[in-house]
């Protein structure tokens, strides 16, 4: 089982000054910054997924790349731009979520393949249109006509895509996109793609599905799956179900959830093999909109806020693992919560995090270098590092899967 990490220009600055919360004056984004595969001793993923809409922009805005970065990606190709170690694979797609509200995709098959070829991807997903709905009993006659149309369109584009890759004798491995709204419709899509000649198929639109719904689809697909056809799950992690996915023919998946939980989830911010902990929130006085408004309105003294923020950081950095040290941290954090006028208190959860001190036991290079800073929910540099740490945990968890042992062993070899 291989894990792909979707790129969203997530990097950290190796020279960031944690004590002053400052970047070096001359830092150049991306170039001087580091990806997860550069700051962790081992790349935490087998591949990266890069969406055209993130690079080139699409319906919803201009993408995440500056003009100069985009030009350099096209010039250098995806491997050199990302400074990927040998053995880390690259997969391109269109980022169909970006145009989900459009009647038809705003890109052509040729533009899609241009992107893959010019950036020199190993593999690329055919142009597709996401069906955002699940009705297991609906047939082509009873389903929402728009879903039926989108599935047809996706298959037609996949046919154009594979014939274009043949015409151009491209080096990019074509990956067919399968859309559906039910086990039967997904299986029909996969069947059609196999007949077109695809040996690798990406299943799209499954992000909102429950695990048993995904399993139902995979079970149905497995009845027509040709030996050797590889399945990729777009946007799905579900580590608990991975072994079952794998048994049904899934060979790879991609997801940002372990990474994003570091700073998006209410509770599961810092992952360990056993469980997830809450990261300790110490927002920056000048970075927290609520606090800024309260200061501007005169209801919070900026001096008090700054003092409370500093005391919280000081206590955390001085934390020695003793109950007294823990109480000092909780007192300082509680005082800061009051100043911040927080709607709810995380103190009980912080007590658990502090008691466990997971960063002290974590072997990943980020926790070793930065210690408690990784557990602090504050600013992009700490939050992304915690996300990278979570990826390293995911990588370890994947190593524990029955079906992926072989793949992971190969992967480790390729990295050395």
């Amino acid at each position: 089982m291989k894990f792909y990490f979707p790129d969203s220009q997530d990097l950290v600055s190796p020279a960031y000054d944690f004590l002053r919360d400052e970047y070096p004056a001359h830092r150049v984004r991306q170039r001087d910054d580091r990806y997860a595969h550069e700051v962790l001793a081992e790349a935490p993923y087998h591949g990266i997924l890069v969406s055209k809409s993130i690079v080139d922009g699409s319906i919803k805005g201009a993408g995440k790349y500056s003009g100069a970065q985009r030009a350099r990606l096209y010039r250098m190709g995806v491997h050199r731009f990302f400074r990927l170690p040998r053995g880390v694979e690259t997969l391109g797609d269109n980022g169909a979520f970006n145009y989900i509200d459009e009647p038809v995709p705003p890109v052509t098959v040729a533009e899609t393949l241009d992107f893959y070829e010019e950036c020199d991807f190993d593999a690329g997903v055919s142009t597709d249109h996401v069906i955002f709905g699940y009705e297991p009993e609906a047939t082509a006659k009873t389903a929402d006509p728009e879903w039926v149309e989108r599935r047809k369109l996706t298959l037609r584009l996949a046919e154009d895509f594979i014939s274009l890759t043949n015409d151009r004798r491209t080096r990019v491995q074509p990956v067919g996109a399968a859309q559906g709204w039910s086990p039967t419709s997904y299986a029909d899509s996969v069947n059609a793609l196999q007949e077109m000649g695809y040996e690798r198929i990406a299943l799209g639109g499954m992000v909102p599905l429950k695990t048993d719904q995904i399993l139902a689809c995979l079970t149905q697909i497995s009845t027509i799956l040709a030996p050797g056809t590889e399945l990729h799950l777009l946007g799905i992690t579900r580590i608990d179900a991975m072994d079952r996915f794998s048994a049904l023919g899934v060979t790879s998946f991609d997801s940002t959830s372990a990474f994003r939980q570091a700073f998006m989830d209410d509770r599961k911010n810092y992952h360990t093999n056993e469980r997830a902990y809450v990261a300790i929130r110490v927002p920056q006085v000048d970075g927290n909109p609520t606090l800024k408004r309260a200061i501007l309105a005169g209801s919070v003294s900026q001096k008090d806020a700054l003092t409370a923020e500093r005391e919280a950081l000081k206590a955390l950095r001085a934390f020695d693992g003793t109950p007294a040290g823990r109480q000092d941290c909780l007192d300082a954090l509680g005082a800061y919560e009051v100043v911040c006028q927080s709607k709810k208190s995380y103190l009980d959860a912080y007590a658990e995090t502090l008691e466990a001190e997971p960063w002290r036991h974590c072997p990943c290079s980020i926790c070793r270098e930065h210690g408690v800073e990784v557990a602090i929910f504050r600013g992009t540099e700490r939050n992304k590092r915690r996300g990278f740490h979570n990826l390293s945990v995911l990588r370890h968890q994947m190593g524990q899967l029955v079906h992926s042992r072989a793949a992971v062993t190969n992967f480790a070899d390729a990295n050395t």
């Binding site: 150049v28 003009g67 100069a68 030009a71 350099r72 010039r75 501007l296």
Partner: protein, 367 residues
């Protein structure tokens, strides 16, 4: 343990019509002992105080500067005193009848809450906060104070003092190349590109330097290529393109001579390939327009990234750039961006989208 004491500061009283102001020096670390930084808040419905919150990033920048060698804050902070503060003249007369030497006497009562301190900071909030936070034992600043009669008068002074315009960006960029010492981050970053731009502009046209005297800056009003366009092209290349090879990522400095060689070589090829378009102002030519300069900058990066300046003659750039001719409509005709995107020659604007469109078009034509 609250204390009451007096701070006595040597001061000059300067008469201004009916009013008087006091010029004095004071240790910035002590300003907050007797000064309140009143912030805007509402007491029921009445507006109290008048000051905005500290801008922490700005304070950090000043603080870094203060901790650097040879730091100086020449402009005075402005304080509005209330009537508890007095001035004691030390001499009856002075050579100038509008200046009197003496001492300001400021009573300090540590038990008073912040908003009842005898002085209010009208200007210099960020500076005094930076001094307060800085890793220094003391840092004396020049101060100007006046005794205000009521909060309304203080407030009007606050508006007057803060009603200033920042320097125009173009002028700052022009001053940067010959600036030494610590600069705020945003300007420190611009210094190297600005230095390269100025060297391009002050070269000699007789030596065939394509940008010489062509870039419009505040002191080079006859130029017709906007300084900002060239600055963007240089920055793009410096961070993501061909000029990156001359930059030292550790300290952000760069080899300006090699960059000049590189830029002059490539842009000479451009000027020779498109002589008419190169000599016309942006209203008549898209080549000298922001979009053209930036897009051709990407062409430079495409063709010369990683190649040192001395090896550029071996690349046959003349031929590569000439191959673009049939795809360009710098001064007339239409751009054919494909997929039914036809634009008149001047239908390309200096927006990120149009620059991107033009760049893709040119880079595709190269392949």
């Amino acid at each position: 343990m609250a204390d009451c004491y007096e701070i006595r500061l040597p001061a000059l009283k300067i008469r201004q019509g009916e009013q008087a102001i006091f010029a004095f020096g004071v240790d910035g670390k002590r300003i907050h002992e007797f000064t309140t930084v009143s912030r805007v808040h509402r007491d029921d419905t009445e507006l109290q105080g008048y000051q905005r919150p500290e801008v922490l990033s700005h304070i950090r920048a000043i603080r870094r500067y203060l901790e650097s060698d040879g730091a100086m804050l020449p402009n005075a902070v402005v304080l509005a005193f209330d009537e508890r503060v007095s001035f004691e003249a030390s001499t009856d007369r002075s050579a100038l009848d509008y200046v009197t030497a003496g001492e300001l006497v400021i009573p300090v009562d540590e038990s008073l809450p912040d908003d009842q301190k005898p002085a209010w900071l009208v200007d210099g909030q960020q500076r005094s906060a930076a001094i307060r936070d800085a890793d220094l034992a003391e840092f004396a600043v020049a101060a100007v104070g006046f005794i205000a009669h009521g909060e309304a008068e203080q407030r009007s002074q606050f508006i007057l003092v803060n009603n200033t315009k920042p320097l125009p960006k173009g002028l700052i960029h022009e001053l940067l190349p010959d600036t030494e010492g610590h600069l705020p981050t945003a300007y420190a970053k611009k210094q190297l590109p600005a230095r390269v731009l100025s060297a391009l502009n002050f070269g000699s046209r007789a030596d065939g330097q394509p940008f010489a005297t062509r870039i419009a800056t505040p002191t080079m009003a006859n130029g017709y290529i906007k300084d900002n366009s060239v600055l963007k092209m240089i920055e793009n290349s410096l961070y993501d393109g061909a000029l990156y090879q001359y930059r030292d990522p550790i300290d952000g400095t760069g080899d300006v001579d090699q960059m000049l060689l590189h830029l002059n070589y490539f842009w000479t090829v451009v000027a020779v390939t498109f002589p008419e378009a190169w000599n016309l102002p942006p209203t008549k030519s898209r080549l000298t327009h922001g979009a053209g300069i930036q897009a051709m900058g990407y062409v430079m990066d495409q063709l010369t990234d990683g190649v040192p300046a001395v090896e550029l003659p071996g690349l046959n750039l003349e031929k590569r750039v000439a191959s673009l001719r049939s795809h360009c409509a710098w001064t007339s005709g239409n751009w054919d961006f494909g997929a039914e995107q036809i634009r008149r020659w001047n239908g390309v604007q200096n927006t990120p989208n149009d620059v991107r469109l033009l760049t893709s078009h040119l880079l595709r034509a190269l392949r």
